[in-house]
Amino acid sequence: MMMEISASRRFVNGFMLTLSGICTLLAVSVLFFILGYLTIHGAASLNWDFFTKLPKPTGETGGGMANAIVGSGKVLLLATLIGVPIGFLAGVYLAEYSGKTFAFLIRYVVDLLNGVPSIVIGIVAYALVVRSMKHYSTLAGGVALGIMMIPIAVRTTEEFLRAVPNSLREGAVALGATQAKAIFSVVVPAAISGLTSGMMLNLARVAGETAPLIFTALGNQFWSNGWLAPTATLPVMIYNYALDPAEDLHKQAWAAGFVLLTLVLFINVTARLIIARGPAAQRR
């Protein structure tokens, strides 16, 4: 005999389940709001000058953010050169070499580093680089973002190397390869698509970071020469222009926001699609 479910229980069931659906809808709709507003305001203010011209002096309209785009590129290149090798090799250590206790310690510290607010990392980069060199620089910004890239680089590397089946390692060693040879010419190449997309996600994450750049890379109205001069960056420009009373700068801020968001989301979508179709996902 079937047990009857009372009307009130059925109502609560339907009501709460609908509510959870509404929560999801609300959360997802925020993404479309963001995309919508940035496209409306940003794309409208975007023009060729934005990519090719320097910012105009205060009071004049027009101009662009060419120097900030190049500046962001330089800072991100430095960050990648610092964060990715350290994170990757540490990840290799965790996945391939380490024992239990020490690995647990490293993993825990990596997670903590991942949780350190970006502004605090900025202060440390200031104390380490800006203070000792006595001036703001692209280098200091790169160091700040590079430290921020380490944790995700470690975790990505470890995760994707662990997803490589042990038979590959055993096969390599059985054929006479040393462990190092097995790791770097068999295991790492087998995980390479996951590793690259993970690093791309990592780069996209720091590409939008503003707080650690405010007092490391600072800003610059002009082109920044070399790596030791202050430089303009896209996120800091958005911040400064958005808070400026001048109406024309708000348009520039929207345009910069649109460019930054497009870039970050494009990298995210591409990298996630690669991961979703990669060999690691199929084994799960």
């Binding site: 659906g21 929560c23 925020v30 940035l38 070499y97 202060i123 390599a172 040393t178 958005a242």
Partner: protein
């Protein structure tokens, strides 16, 4: 398949004599290099702690722990107190969480328990994209879209309904604790959703089947069986979100109003630790001024480290129980 050719290549190299000795060396070198990189992360974290501590010593010597209880922030008189910033950081973070936790857990329940796997994956993908949006973009939308909308619709409605409460007292100028809290809630929701969803999915299917077999409705199963099972992990996700909200800088700086005042009303402007550092650090002159800002960074660092550590423990506790 790619791996096969590498094995073949390794086999070829292996046959050449003299190479073997170098490979042995390579083995040790690669071990030492990777170990050095792993250790360097410990060094980096150590360096962070040391730099924060060494550079804020002057403030600690001058004000002691009284710094945390003093609410006067006057760079002109060289007097510094951290209370307004600590207050603002906590108020905005808790406000953000109060709004984000129900929404996030609700959405996680939908994604883990109700939605068909395909739909759930697509929605989770979108939520993860949301987490990737840079915080300065949230700030931009905050000042130009959210704050005007709050002025127009939300705050008049709130004042009409709850105007007698002290938290909704006073005039609303736009930049306020409430705006910062709202932005924070939107920013941390994706984190709560994705971690909570993982944790809910880790609850064994048998538990659900048993409850349903006993005649429980879908919701009763979720609420009475699945959620209690996953509660530790969900707490973990909430703590993770809290740590993020406390340390969030740009979006908060752009909408909180940057006024070092303690006020019970959520409609009045305030300040947060991260915001004051972002605003004043580059222009700060005077050793005590800089040292006070760094001392606040140290406080923020300590706070987020403790909260993160707790979150990790919670999450490890639930996800590892599955394997046991």
């Amino acid at each position: 398949m790619a791996a096969t050719s590498y094995i073949a290549e390794t086999l070829n190299r292996r046959t050449s004599r003299g190479f073997f000795a170098r490979l042995r060396g390579g083995d040790e070198i690669s071990y030492l290099v990777t170990l050095a990189c792993a250790v360097s992360i410990l060094v980096v974290v150590g360096l962070i702690v040391f730099e924060l501590w060494a550079n804020s010593l002057a403030t600690f010597k001058t004000f002691g722990f009284g710094f945390l209880k003093n609410s006067v922030w006057d760079p002109n008189a060289d007097v510094y107190g951290g209370l307004p910033f600590i207050y603002g950081t906590c108020v905005t973070a808790f406000l953000g969480l109060a709004l984000a936790v129900p929404l996030g857990v609700g959405a996680a329940i939908f994604l883990a328990e109700l939605a068909p796997p395909k739909l759930s994956n697509i929605l989770t993908f979108l939520i993860e994209l949301l987490a990737a949006v840079p915080s300065v973009i949230y700030g931009l939308l905050g000042i130009f879209i959210l704050v005007p909308a709050m002025k127009e619709y939300l705050v008049p409605a709130l004042k009409k309904a709850f105007g007698y409460l002290p938290i909704f007292e006073g005039t609303f100028y736009g930049l306020s604790f409430l705006s910062a809290g709202l932005i924070l809630s939107v920013m941390v929701v994706p984190f709560i959703i994705s971690v909570s969803r993982e944790v809910l999915l880790a609850v064994p299917v048998e538990q659900r089947e048993a409850a349903l077999a006993l005649g429980a409705t879908k919701w009763e199963t979720t609420w009475d069986i699945v959620l209690p099972n996953a509660s530790t992990g969900i707490f973990g996700s909430v703590f993770l979100a809290l740590a993020r909200a406390l340390g969030e800088t740009m979006a908060v700086t752009m909408v909180i109003g940057n006024t070092p005042k303690i006020s019970a009303s959520l409609l009045s402007p305030g300040y947060s630790i991260a915001a004051v550092i972002a605003n004043e650090f580059a222009e700060a002159n005077g050793d005590l001024y800089i040292s006070s800002l760094i001392f606040m960074a140290l406080v923020l660092f300590g706070l987020t480290i403790v909260i993160n550590a707790m979150a990790r423990i919670f999450i490890i506790m639930t996800t590892q129980r599955k394997g046991a």
